[in-house]
Amino acid sequence: MLEFAFAQRALAAVVVVGLLCGLLGFFVVLRRLAFIGVGISHSAVGGVAIGLLLGVDPSLSAAVFAILVALAMSWIARSRRISEDAVIGVFLSASMALGLVLLSLRHGFQQDLFGYLFGSVLAISAAELAAIGGLAVLVSGIVFVTFREMLFVAFDEEVARAYGRPVDALDAVLLVVLAVTIVAGVRVVGVLLIEALLVVPAATAALWTLDFRRQIALSMGLGAASGVLGLTLSYQFDVAAGGAIVLVAVTCFFASLLVRRGQ
C-alpha cells in the first residue's frame, strides 16, 4: 500500500500520533485523567463546528476550543462546589450539542461530522501531517522539560506545593498539551476513539513494568505499533482505520492482562 502518497502520509500520521498518545497516556493513566480526556475530545466537535462556520481552519479552532474547555473544566472542578465528573459531563454534553447545532446549519454537515467523529486518516494532507509533526515535537519538548515536576505532582501534590513547585501551572500545562494531543489525534482515529489511543497503550504498559522510563517507552511503542498494524489491517480488509487501530491496541491490552495475571 505504500506506493500511494496518501498511504505514506497516513502511516506517518498514525506513527506520530501513536507515539504522542503513548507519551501523554502515561500521565492520563497515572493521574486518572481518562474521563477529562473524554470531555476534551468531545469538546473538539464544538470547536470544529465553530471553525467551519467562521471559515477558520477547523483543527485550529478545535485546538483553541478544546484548550479553553479543558482549563474551564479544571478550574470549576477545583472550586470543589461540584464533583469533577459532573463538571466533565456538563461540558462534554454542552460541547457536543453546540457542535451538532452549529454543524446542522451547514449543508452536508453529516460528512463533516462523520470525519471528525470516526477519523479520516487516509485523507490527511501533507500540510496536516506537518502540523501534527510540529505539535508532536512541541508537546514532547514541553513534557520533557516538565516531566519530573509533573511526576512529583502525580506522586504528592501537597508536598510538591510545599516545596514551591508551581502545581497549578503544571496542571494547566498538562491539560493544554493533552488537549493539543487529542486534537492532533482526532484526524487519525476520531473524537470517539482518540481516548482509547491515550488510555489503552499506557494501561497496557503499566501492566508490564513499574519503572516510568520503561513504561513510557513501552506505551509509546505500543501506540505506534497499534497504529501501523491497525492501518495495515484496515487496508487489507477494507475496514475503518480508526476502529482497526484501537482494536489492535485493545487486543494487546487483554493479552497482556491475561499473561500478567498468570504471573
Binding site: L30, F144, V145, T146, F147, R148, E149, L151, F152, A154, F155, D156, E158, V159, A160, R161, A162, Y163, G164, R165, A206, T209, L210, D211, F212, Q215
Partner: protein, 257 residues
C-alpha cells in the same frame, strides 16, 4: 535565632475559625511536638507554617521569612505528610521519589546530575534504606515508606523538618524505631523539628517541647509541664491522670527494658 515564629495567627477555612490567636516560637535545633484532639487544627497549623493555607490575620515567620516568600529557599524545609499508603503501582523507584525532593536544586531542564544522585544515596543512607533505592516505591512496608519520605524531606539541605502524623498506621516497635531515627537525625544534621501527632504519649517521650492546641493554644512548655498541666484536660475535655504512668511505660519500651 528562632526557626519558627507564630504571632497571633488566625486561620479561617470555609468561614470556620480553625486556629485562633496562636502564638509560639521554636528555637533552632528544638524538637516541637504539636498535640491536640481530633479536629483541633494541628494539620492546619502545619499547612499554615508551610504556606499551604493563607493566614487570616497575624503572621508566621519560617527561617526568618514569611512562608510564601521562601521561593527557591523552600528546600530548607522538609515536609513529611500524613500518608499511610502509596499506590502499589506508582511507576517510580525509591531513588526517583527521593530525587523529587531535590528538584529545587536542579537546573531549568530538571535533569538529575551525578551530584544529585549522590545526595539521594546519602539521604537514603541517613535513614538506613540505601539498599532499597531501586525498589518500586509501592512495594515498601509501612516503616520503609516513612523512611523513604523522610529521605525525600532531607535530601536538599534541609534545616527545618515538618512532620504530620509520621507514625500513623505503624505498630509500637516501628513507631519507637522511627522516633529514635528522627532524634538521631535531628542531632546529626542539626535539624529543627516540628511534628504533629495525635499520639500524645509518643511525642511526650521524644520532643523537647510540646504545644497543645484545640483551635486556641492551651499550653506550651516542656513535656513534663504540659502532661501535668490542667490546660491539657481542658483541651481534650477529659482527665489525664494516667499519663505519668503511661509515659514511663512508653520510655521503658523505647529503652528495651
Amino acid at each position: 535565632m528562632d526557626a519558627v515564629v507564630f504571632d497571633r495567627v488566625h486561620v479561617e477555612l470555609d468561614g470556620r475559625v480553625v486556629l485562633e490567636n496562636i502564638s509560639f516560637r521554636v528555637a533552632e535545633g528544638a524538637f516541637l511536638g504539636v498535640i491536640g484532639p481530633n479536629g483541633a487544627g494541628k494539620t492546619t497549623l502545619l499547612r499554615a507554617l508551610l504556606g499551604l493555607v493563607p493566614v487570616t490575620s497575624g503572621s508566621i515567620q519560617v527561617l526568618g521569612r514569611a512562608p510564601a516568600t521562601l521561593g527557591a529557599d523552600a528546600h530548607s524545609i522538609g515536609y513529611v505528610p500524613q500518608r499511610a499508603v502509596v499506590s502499589r503501582n506508582f511507576p517510580a523507584t525509591v531513588g526517583d521519589i527521593v530525587m523529587m525532593g531535590r528538584l529545587c536544586c536542579m537546573g531549568r531542564m530538571r535533569l538529575p546530575k551525578s551530584t544529585d544522585w549522590h545526595e539521594v544515596a546519602r539521604s537514603l543512607g541517613h535513614v538506613g534504606i540505601a539498599h532499597l533505592s531501586d525498589r518500586p516505591i509501592g512495594r515498601l512496608s509501612g516503616g520503609e515508606m516513612r523512611r523513604a519520605l523522610l529521605a525525600q524531606a532531607l535530601c536538599a539541605g534541609t534545616r527545618l523538618l515538618v512532620l504530620d502524623e509520621p507514625t500513623v498506621g505503624l505498630d509500637l516497635p516501628s513507631e519507637l524505631e522511627f522516633y529514635g531515627l528522627l532524634l538521631h537525625l535531628q542531632r546529626e544534621l542539626s535539624l529543627t523539628v516540628v511534628c504533629v501527632s495525635h499520639d500524645l504519649l509518643a511525642l511526650a517521650g521524644q520532643a523537647s517541647e510540646l504545644i497543645c492546641i484545640n483551635r486556641v493554644m492551651h499550653v506550651h512548655g516542656n513535656p513534663e509541664e504540659v502532661v501535668h498541666s490542667h490546660a491539657l484536660r481542658e483541651a481534650y475535655s477529659c482527665e489525664f491522670d494516667f499519663l505519668a504512668g503511661e509515659i514511663a511505660h512508653h520510655d521503658r519500651m523505647r529503652s528495651g527494658a
